[in-house]
Structure formats: structure tokens, C-alpha cells
Amino acid sequence: MNKILPIRLLSIILFSICALTASLGQSVPRPDIKFGKVSLEELKMTHYERDSSAAAIILFDVGKFTDSNITFTRHLRIKILNKAGLSWADQTFNTPSKSSFKVVVNNLENNEVISEKAKSESIFEEEIFDDFKVYKVFAPNVKVGSVIDISYSFIGLPSEWRFQEIIPVVYSELEIESSKLISYNKFSFGFEPIQTIGYNKWRAVNVPAFKIEPFLNSYKNYITKFRIQVTSINFYGANTRIVDFSSTWGKVAGNLDGSDRFGGVIKNNKYLKEVADSIGSLNLTPLETTKAALNYIKDNIKWDNTNRAFASDDYRLKLTKYHTGSSADINLQLIALLQRLGLEAYPVALSTKDNGVLLEYQPAIDQLNYVVSFINLNDNEPLLIDATSEESTLGVLPIRCINGKGLLIGEEKYKWVDLKSNYTYEKRQFTMLTLTEELELTGQMSVNHKGLEFSSWCEEQNELNEDSEKYMNRIKEKFDIEGVSNHVVSQKNVDKQSITEKFNLDLESKVIDNGNSIILFPIVMYDYDKNPLKSDTRQYPIDLISTKNYSYTTILNLPQKAEIVNAPTSVKFMNSDASANFQYLISKSATGLQLKIDLTIEKSVFLETEYVELKEFFSQVSKAVNQPIEIVL
């Protein structure tokens, strides 16, 4: 059911189409709107009262599936409010079957409505690849103030209906007449209210523009929409979509288990006999055996950067001959090998972050786009394994996979497991600084990245092709620091998910000669030196991916005759549910001062209602670590 090669590109294309097209949405009560008939008020409108910044708005967006002709028809009306909104005159539509379009542009000229129908030369069908096509509509004669009516219809159902868009939607309505010919599941997403106004009929009114915020999990989880999944089609029409039958998660699990490209990959594992025997002959512990199997897979099949839940047709060749494959080619064969070795390993099918989160009450096989391995080693907690990265080990999931829950497919049943790493963001930073009587502040720093910090570090190194010079430029920019040099990497340990790096420091800018006293800023390269949260309000949850534990120590050696005049006092604070903790301890030592800073964050997701408090927490952190010290010599 999956076309093999193009998918990795397809996901990018689909994403951009979704982002661009904006399957738009519509006023209260349902305005009496006829296609091509626009009111004077609509044309005279110069701004939208509820959102003065809107470049364009969707006045009206109505979709209806009619049973008698199994046709879905949509009528969309867009109002252009300023020049930046002109881009809404170019639309891309991705429909499941051949579609016919009507486009009318309405302008006000001398207080008269001038309506112009677009000719076929403004509507294009464009092939993106192979037989995947989209429709492009360039509405003619669109100016600031224009009202554009677009209507199209096709046989079948759309894959989603968005009640919300990145511009405001005044009125959006969807009706799906019940039909013996087509059945579907509908899943609801987002925070804006959707009213049920009749049998299989819904609407949303005055929906605000969707705002893309920083630290947002995929916008797909939060934009208000219905996802529509056709579960069966009983007619023979042209170009109908692929049918799938996943009305419960149990059925989904059964389908996966029975599929040649999922369950079959794991069960038909005789071809791995030789490998399994050679690992088996080493008489290792279950943990060591698992590691040996993981290493075998990592060495023999490299990730081709595609996320997939189903293996390819030639997955065996991919392991034994081509040494390249998707997440499914890699991880399903890892599970096969582990089972062959007699270990209790199962697949966990999941949806990656950019694909949206899986919901327990919304079964959908086509939402799955990745699979990892679950292993139960008796005496330990069960662990998840992903073998797509050379730097991965047991219990490590890549960040793209840390997305709610995944579906574990056991021998006879399925269950939900939390998609989390057994590792968190961990960093230990140790700095030794010495101030000379000539006011030179120099020293060394060692930074140990562990867990997800290790993964992020490796990812950054890969991105920079391990070029040290480029990395140093990054460091200087990120921490706003000059005088850092001699980068040395040591103790890279994939098993422990740990890496240590060292730098030399020469911190001219951190010392101020204030005449009769000296002022120092002793904390350098601290990750939360700046408040990461900017805006003062928040609409959606803040996704920090995982918990964090950062510990930072500085030993500051001062000239012998130095006298400390002013230094920060030790401080400790936390947010109200104690999920974010900060501690700054300062103490005198024989040679100067010792500073110890600990930051822990024990939740990976904060609700929008917790935003203001979290922001204040980071604000206090930023204040604390930027405090100077004053000495006299």
C-alpha cells in the first residue's frame, strides 16, 4: 500500500501542501450565501473587527457530502484585506479524485459589484510525481478588497476538514450525509468549539487564526479540524482512494500482525538463523545478547532517513545486500533477530512528532508511520530500542519518536506504551577559572552531555559534519562569548550515552576594572542564561520533549590578597508544583569561591495555563546566573 521511494519526499510535499492550502473554513447563523453572489458589506469590509492584523479572512467555508451522487462539494469564500493577503488568491488543493472547479472573483467598482468568472486557464492540474497530482487555482484580478469564491467537487470524502486556519475563519460548516456506499471515522482535533447543528452536520464560527508558537509539538495536533478516515467504500468509481479497515485499535493491531510487511517480517525469521546462532554461541546475558543484536543491525543496515511503519518488499536484501533501509526495514528486522534469539521483543508502532500524536480513542492505521522495538529483559524495566542511529542504544528513542503513546503489538493482544526515552536531557558542566592580579580571567571547562543531550550533541555534530571550526562558531554565537578555544572531545560512549568535551577560556569581557574594585561575571556558557520564553501569553501547551537535569559548577580562584566585597547569596526556588527547580549555592573556598548551580525540570510538557509561571521561573534563573561578584585587590 505504500509506494516506496517517493514517500520521503511525499511527506514533505504533503506537509507543505497542507500548510499552504489551508483547507479553509466559514458565520452565525449560517449566512445565506450563494456561489458568486457577494454582498456589498463583504466587499466594503476593510478590516476584520475580531483581528485587526488579519491579512485575509475566510468568510465562509461549507463542505457537503451528498449521498445521491457520492460527491463532496466545497464552497470557500475568501476576503483579501491587505497586500500580504494576496497570496490567498493562489490556492493548491489536494483532492482524492478528479475534481472540477469554479472560481469567481468579486470586486467593487464605483459602488457596483463586478463578478468575474475564472476561465480554465487559471486552473491547473499539476503532477508532483508519478501519478500524484494537485490542483492549482490562480484567482484572476484579485486586489485588496476582493472577495474570492471557490467551489469544487469530487467523488469521495476529503481526508480532513479544517475549521481553523492560519487566518481567521468567520463561518465553517461540514455536512456528511449518511450513505450505504461509504463509511468513515471522524476524529476531532484542536481547542476551538465545534457545534453539532444537525445529523452529521457541524459548524464552527468566529474561529481565530491559528498561531504557530515556539516549543509547539506539531501544529497538526492543535489546529481545530476533523480528520476523516474512510473505512469502506462500496462502489466502483474512478480514482477512489485506498480503503482501510481500522475501526478499532484491535483491528489495527490484527492487520499489522497479519501483514507481510509487518508481523510477517518478524515471524518469518529463518533467514536470520546464522546470525542468531553466531550471537547465541557467545553465551551472553540477555542484555548483552540484545546489544549484540542491536550492533549487528546497526552495522548492517543504515537508516535512509525515511520514517515508515511497514517494511519494503525487499527488506531482507536491504539488510544483507544494500545495507540501507527505512525505520521499519531496520527495526522490524531487529525485532525478528531478537525473537530468533529467544528474547521477548515486540514491535511498537507509532506516529512521529511531525505526523501528529496517536489518540487512544481514534484508531487509524494510516496514522502510523514508524515502528520501534520493545524488549522485556525480565529483571529490568522493559526498554524501547530504535536502531536508526549509530549513536543509539537500549532505552533510547530519537526525539522525533517521543510523541505520546505507541501501540505495542503482542502475540495475541495489543497495549499502549509511553514513548519516552529512559534518558533525559542531562548536562554536567565543570569550570575552573583563575583571576590573576593583572586581571586576566582564564581557565578550562569540561562539559559532559548525557542522554538526550548526548543525542542532540551527536545530531549537531552530524549536521556540521564534525567540523570543529564550525562547531566553535556555533558555541560562540549560542553563548555570546569570545575567548573560547582548544575544543577537545573525549570519552564518547554510546553505551552510556555520554560524551565529554573540553574548552579553554580567556574571558576578557567578564572582568571590569571599576577603579577601586574589580567586578567579575563568573558564570559562562550556561544554557538558561537567557529566558527561552518570550511572548507574554500562550495558546497551546509548551513541549520541552523530556525532563532536564543540568548541573553546573565553577571554581573561581582569586589572587591571594583578594577580598570579596559583594557576591550573590545562595538561592533556591521552584514553581508551584515543584516540577521546575533551581538552586544556586555559593561558598568560599581556600582559593576563592565555589559556585554550584542545579536546574531540574521534571515535566516534559507544560500546559498553556502554566506558561506564565514557567516563564517567571526562567526569568529568575536568568537573573540569578547573570549576577556579578565584586572584589578588591
Binding site: S53, S87, F129, N465, S509, S619
Partner: protein
């Protein structure tokens, strides 16, 4: 007939890069490329190469890519994958590849990218490719660039150009040994060879990499696109071709004529403005490139009726309206964009990707016709300071496009910053941008309302702040000066230390706003001269005073000038920062000198001052 050669060992001002060799992600073992021109002028390109992929970083070099469109077809492709021992792993052909058309929502064209992914990853491995493509109508031929990317080593690469004895083509060689030529009564074969080219890291800009590469640039002498015949014998001849192709009779609608008839045409500058506004308010940019549409404008009537078009169509529309009111204007062909190699003046050929308009008035003025937001006479960095082709019947020639100079590219920041005794700041900032800084206008006019505050806050280096509001002053639409007012709350702008307060000497935007240092390694490039002047009026409680000796710092060099000045005022302090940077590309010793200057500036930028309390 003769063969047209241009021998030029790049005497122009290329950067003479002294770059150390870089990492080798892949190695071209052999590459034999043939360009064969047939009697009917069709161009057959055959490629036969063998590349060794060393590591994951080089994986992209294992893919086969080809550009295809209405005039260019991929006829044959064979790909063999071999493992490190030389054993054949698989054979692939054209059917294993895919065609992709990647276009934005405002674009439609018939060009596609053909991609074949050999789907193999056991390093090192070798890919052998044999391909043949055929091009019928063409204006340009692919440049032969043996080392075609960063981090590739080339052991041996050969080019053969085969053409009938009576055909002419144009060749320009750069950094490559002269050709050997064989001739018989039917064909002429021109051969080039390159070997042992070491890999280069991506620490220089692509345009600089490209300019310094051994290559052979090839262009047809005469060409024909959908029956329209032209020649690259001279810029004048090519200009005539473009002129004639786009000089059909165009019809404006009666509405537009009525509008134009109503214009007072005594002042040309004013008339042009009015017509430009008329166009801006009725049209938008939509790219439609089908067949010869890549070169020839769609009729004006289409643009006038539909209200959209691509650069050629919109430019032609503007030109026709100007023609109608008796103002003569000229097309200008340009290679638009940032980081693009400059057009080679001495080698007439199709080196362009965009068109705009020039009008010879007392000064020549330029009109970019694809923006609905741009001030009439503003063109910006998309087309500035480069060789462009001025199209005029029988008189086409290369000219230099508008260059924004130091006195044009000005940013003025006037701010009032109130600091309380805890160190919190309240900043009211007015930023005035001119010249290249004006381009921010496009961002401010089109960004989502939370974009500036949530994402653009890198502009400011503060550790903890909120942009409470920003307002773009709505001025005359033709003003080439934009004004934005910000209100920013900065927490802990200063650090309290006993009864002292420590604050930065530079209170406004960090240098990273003006120079992208992450790109600079063994050379520095300041593509445009700029000047920035900040004046910050710091208001603080009366008890504070500054007790530092050095209140003015000046660093001056051949590269520019940097000044920091702090003056005491009634209510606090006035801090002036001014930066002047000259345009220039610096390598070797010059780079070292530049670096010295710049390091001094950076040091000053990080300085803080101590406000003591009066006793």
C-alpha cells in the same frame, strides 16, 4: 565557419582563495562527458562516470539528478552499484527513478527533476553511471564543472565536445588546461581534461567556490527556441533576439487606456509612480513558465485581464503602459538573487534568470515589477550591484545595476531607555532603515502578528525581554525610508551589585544583525557598505553616576570605523554607537588585518559600565 573561442584565464577579480583542502566525502574516479551537437542542432549529452562514496556525508552524491522539461529529455540511464571490493550489487535504469515537480503555490511550470536513488549504504561504495539526454531547443548548455561540489575529490575528468565542422559554439575556459582539438572533414572534437582536484570544505560561499573552479563554460553561437532564432555573437545580437521576441503588439484594456489618458504627463517621475501604483494595485506575481514562456512574455492583455503574471509578463505590462504615455523604457536581464556568480561580461550567453525595467531619465531609474509592496524606485539586494543586460534595439549592452553605497545603507536608532534601581529596563526605540536595510519592510508588511515577537527576537540580544508592541509607521508608499517603533520591556537589563548597577555599553542590536559571522572562516566578505548609528538616552535614578575614565572609543581602519561614546546628561547618559563598514572581500593577509579590526570591535561591543551611587 569558425569556432568561436574566448580565451580568458580569469583576469577578472576573482578571489584567489588559498584554502586548505577539506574532507573528502566522495571521489570522482573517472568522468567522461560528451556534448555532441547534431546537424539539426540537437544537443546530446552523454555522461559516463564512476564515483566512490566514502561516508554518509557523501550519500547525496550517489543520487543521479537531471533537470527535464519540454525541451530536454532523459533518454537513457544505467546505474551500477558496486561494493568496496568491486562486486556488482545491483543494476538500475531509468525506470527506477522518479520525476518530481516542486513548485510553490504561486508557480506552475513544465520543468521537473528526475532523481534516481541507488538505495545503497555500505561505505565505501562505488556508483557507475551512464546517461544520455537530449535537448532540442536551448539557449544555454550546461557548464562543465569537474569538481561540482564541496567535499568532492576528482581523480580524472574529461569533456569532449563534438560538433559538425560547419557549426560554431562559444567556449570560455577558466582555470583549465587548453583544449586539444581534432578535426576531420565532418566533425570537430574539442577535448578537455582535469585531474587530481582536491576536495574543498564548505567554508566559503558557493559563488566564490564556483568562481574559482576549473571549468568550461559553453554556449551555442546561434540558437532557436520554438522557431525564434537568435545569436550570442554579441550582447547586442542576443539583446535584439529578446527585444524582438517580446515586442509583439500588445493590447491594453480600454479601462487601462482610460486611466492612462487621464494622467497628467508633465513630470515623468510622477507619471511613472502613478502607473507603477496602478500596476501594483491590480496585479500579483504568479509564475507560469511553459515552453517558450520561459523566455517570452505572455501578452499584456492577459495580465491586464487576469491581474497576475510572472516577471516577464508584469515587466512587459508596465513597459506597455509606459509606452502608451510616451515614456521609453528598457527591459533589463539579470541574474537575480543573493550569492550568485556575477554575469560574465566578456562572454555573451544566457546567464540570466529574471527581468526588470530601466528608464533612462536624467538619472536612470529601475523598476522591479513583481512586488506589490515595494516603493516605486526601490530594487534592493535582489538585483543590485552586478552586470545586467540592458535591452535596446541594436544597442543592447551590459551595464552595472544600481549599487547601494555607504551613504544609502543607513540604519538610525533613536531610543529612550529607562532603568529602574533593580536594573529592569523600559525601551522605546525608533528604527529608521534606508537602502538595503529597507528590505525589512517586506517582513514587517507580511509576517504573522506573533512572528516578530516570538521568532524575530534574535534581533535583540537581551536575556529576558518582551516586545510589547511594534508599529511600522505608515508613510508615503514610495518612501525609501521605513520607520518602526518598538516598545520593549527588558528584565534585568542591568545587574545590581550592592548599591551599584552594571549595564552594557551597547544597548541595542548585536553585531550579528549586520554581519553573518557564522559564514566567515578563512575570508571575510562585506557585500555592501553599511552604516548604523545608535543614540540611546538612558534615564536612570539620580543617585547613579558613571565613574569611568574612557568615555569615547574609536577604532578606525581601512575597513571601516567604529565609535562608542558615552556622554552624561541631565537625566542620565547618552550612549552613541556608530558603525561604518566598507564593502570588500578579504582573504589572506587582508583577512588577518580585517579580523584584527573586527576582534577589537567585538571586544568593545561586549563592554559593560558600572553605575555607582553618589554618596
Amino acid at each position: 565557419m569558425r569556432l568561436f573561442f574566448v580565451f580568458l584565464f580569469s583576469i577578472s577579480a576573482f578571489l584567489n582563495l588559498s584554502i586548505s583542502y577539506g574532507q573528502e566525502y566522495a571521489k570522482i574516479i573517472t568522468d567522461n562527458t560528451t556534448y555532441e551537437i547534431e546537424k539539426n542542432d540537437d544537443l546530446i549529452i552523454t555522461q559516463n562516470y564512476k564515483i566512490q562514496i566514502n561516508s554518509k556525508e557523501g550519500l547525496k552524491f550517489s543520487y543521479f539528478y537531471d533537470y527535464i522539461d519540454k525541451f530536454k529529455k532523459l533518454k537513457k540511464l544505467e546505474v551500477i552499484v558496486r561494493d568496496k571490493t568491486g562486486k556488482k550489487i545491483k543494476s538500475l535504469n531509468k525506470g527506477d527513478g522518479h520525476e518530481y515537480g516542486f513548485n510553490s503555490s504561486y508557480e506552475i511550470d513544465d520543468s521537473k527533476i528526475f532523481v534516481l536513488d541507488p538505495d545503497y549504504q555500505n561505505y565505501p561504495f562505488t556508483i557507475e553511471v551512464t546517461s544520455k539526454s537530449e535537448q532540442t531547443d536551448y539557449l544555454s548548455m550546461p557548464t562543465w564543472l569537474p569538481r561540482n561540489s564541496f567535499n568532492i575529490k576528482v581523480e580524472s575528468s574529461n569533456l569532449e565536445i563534438i560538433l559538425p565542422i560547419n557549426k560554431e559554439i562559444k567556449i570560455k575556459e577558466e582555470f583549465i588546461a587548453p583544449a586539444s582539438i581534432q578535426e576531420d572533414s565532418l566533425v570537430k572534437i574539442i577535448k578537455y581534461h582535469a585531474e587530481n582536484l582536491e576536495p574543498i570544505d564548505s567554508k566559503i560561499r558557493y559563488s566564490d567556490f564556483y568562481e574559482s573552479q576549473p571549468k568550461v563554460i559553453i554556449a551555442p553561437f546561434e540558437f532557436e527556441i520554438e522557431k525564434a532564432k537568435g545569436s550570442f555573437e554579441s550582447w547586442q545580437k542576443f539583446g535584439d533576439w529578446f527585444y524582438d521576441l517580446n515586442n509583439d503588439t500588445y493590447e491594453l484594456t480600454q479601462d487601462t487606456k482610460n486611466y492612462l489618458n487621464g494622467l497628467d504627463s508633465r513630470n515623468s517621475y510622477e507619471t511613472i509612480r502613478k502607473i507603477y501604483h496602478y500596476m501594483q494595485d491590480r496585479t500579483r506575481y504568479v509564475s507560469i513558465q511553459l515552453g517558450i514562456g520561459g523566455y517570452k512574455s505572455i501578452p499584456t492583455a492577459f495580465v491586464d485581464e487576469k491581474g497576475y503574471g510572472d516577471c516577464k509578463a508584469l515587466t512587459t505590462y508596465m513597459k506597455n503602459m509606459l509606452d502608451y504615455v510616451g515614456i521609453k523604457s528598457n527591459y533589463i536581464l539579470v541574474k537575480a538573487g543573493k550569492d550568485v556568480p556575477d554575469v560574465k561580461k566578456e562572454f555573451p550567453s544566457n546567464q540570466f534568470n529574471h527581468v526588470f525595467l530601466g528608464i533612462p531619465l536624467s538619472d536612470t531609474v529601475f523598476l522591479e515589477c513583481t512586488s506589490q509592496i515595494s516603493p516605486t524606485y526601490y530594487t534592493g539586494t535582489f538585483t543590485d550591484d552586478r552586470n545586467v543586460l540592458w535591452i535596446d534595439k541594436n544597442k543592447s549592452q551590459i551595464i552595472r545595476s544600481k549599487t547601494y553605497k555607504l551613504e544609502d545603507n543607513v540604519q538610525l536608532n533613536n531610543a529612550q531607555l529607562s532603568i529602574d534601581s533593580e536594573g529592569n529596563g523600559q525601551l522605546n526605540l525608533e528604527t529608521i532603515n534606508e537602502g538595503v536595510f529597507m528590505e525589512q519592510l517586506f517582513l514587517y508588511k507580511s509576517a504573522a502578528n506573533n512572528y516578530i515577537s516570538d521568532y524575530q527576537n534574535k534581533d535583540f540580544g537581551y536575556k529576558d525581554f518582551i516586545i510589547n508592541s511594534y508599529t511600522l509607521e505608515e508613510s508615503d508608499r514610495d518612501s525609501e525610508r521605513m520607520r518602526v517603533n518598538f516598545e520593549i520591556t527588558i528584565k534585568n537589563f542591568g545587574q545590581k551589585l550592592g548599591d551599584k548597577l552594571i549595564i552594557p555599553k551597547v544597548q541595542l542590536r548585536p553585531l550579528a544583525n549586520y554581519i553573518d559571522e557564522s559564514e566567515l572562516y578563512e575570508y571575510a566578505s562585506i557585500p555592501r557598505a553599511i552604516q548604523i548609528v545608535d543614540s540611546v538616552n538612558i534615564i536612570m535614578e539620580e543617585k547613579f553616576y558613571m565613574n569611568q575614565q574612557s568615555k569615547e572609543e574609536v577604532i578606525e581602519s581601512e575597513f571601516g570605523k567604529y565609535t562608542q561614546k558615552i556622554i552624561e546628561s541631565d537625566k542620565g547618559l547618552i550612549c552613541i554607537r556608530s558603525i561604518e563598514l566598507k564593502k570588500g572581500d578579504y582573504t589572506k593577509e587582508e583577512y588577518q588585518k580585517f579580523n584584527k579590526f573586527w576582534s577589537k570591535v567585538k571586544r568593545l561591543e561586549k563592554k559593560k559600565m558600572v553605575l555607582n551611587t553618589k554618596t
